[in-house]
Symmetry: C2
Subunit: 184 residues, 2 copies
Amino acid sequence: MFELKVVTSNPGKAIEIIAALGKAGIKAAHVHMKYPEIRADTFEEVVKASIAHLKGTGLDEFILDDSGLDVRSLNGFPGVYSAYVFKTIGCEGILRLLSGSRDRHAEFVSVIGGFVKGKEVMVTGSTKGVITVSQKGTFGFGYDPIFMPDGEKRTFAEMQTEQKNAISHRGKAVAAFTEWYRSQ
Amino acid sequence: MFELKVVTSNPGKAIEIIAALGKAGIKAAHVHMKYPEIRADTFEEVVKASIAHLKGTGLDEFILDDSGLDVRSLNGFPGVYSAYVFKTIGCEGILRLLSGSRDRHAEFVSVIGGFVKGKEVMVTGSTKGVITVSQKGTFGFGYDPIFMPDGEKRTFAEMQTEQKNAISHRGKAVAAFTEWYRSQ
């Protein structure tokens, strides 16, 4: 039976994407795989290069996600290097960089791309919010405990997967992908 | 006449490398060029991939440098992403992350690699020091104003190129390259 492959080494991403696709009736499976990524200034460039790389390995019918957090007063940091920055200085590092800062605006961005039904596809989702003054919640992954979406009183880490998917950057990207998928 | 090409989009790096090579009697010229770099956990991986890429463009007799600052108490941050981190949060960001920190140890690392005399070469230089509590000096580039090498009372940014090269990570990497070059 057909299964769309969700290629990522991040189990948190896989859970969210597969749950959102499942809700839309698209069966997907996690392929746990680390692939080389380029250093680029945009998520789109990274995804484009990653699609090309994975196509070259013979994989077909796959999607992947490059995503991150852009903090406005930090000139977009950690941006495309969110994963690396998380591994080194973590949420505490971001809080420290923003200590005393009035401008706490941030945006989570997810670019989902892949090679599906013989075509390259790339879609984007983003969610605006603020960086909290301390960590809250234990769900999700990455910067979820310090990101509170606009109009919400909970951080992403205080939401179950389904709740987060309903408003998150990644949930929106999957929704855009689903729409494209159905139009094919 | 033969000239070794120093490929980088960073004029500061070019100046230091060409000065150090010149002192050793190796004539070199700056090729100002941005090339795609991979996201990797080590400078060596980045350099290896960059050499392969540049060889693929038909360039020969070239060297390049991937370098960065590893701050111990920040788990090696900004490390391989030093340039990106500098562009976004700068020296001030590093100082902020270390505010109140007792452990201010850091290490500058330079990996120089290339394709010279028909062979791939890769050498490393590193210099240990501490992150100062404020910026000092106007020479050099990047994190030079906040890095004071062990045994020195000046930051890298308070040293002229020749002084910095005598003790810097990059100066040491060029010295190692020079030694290899002469042995060929």
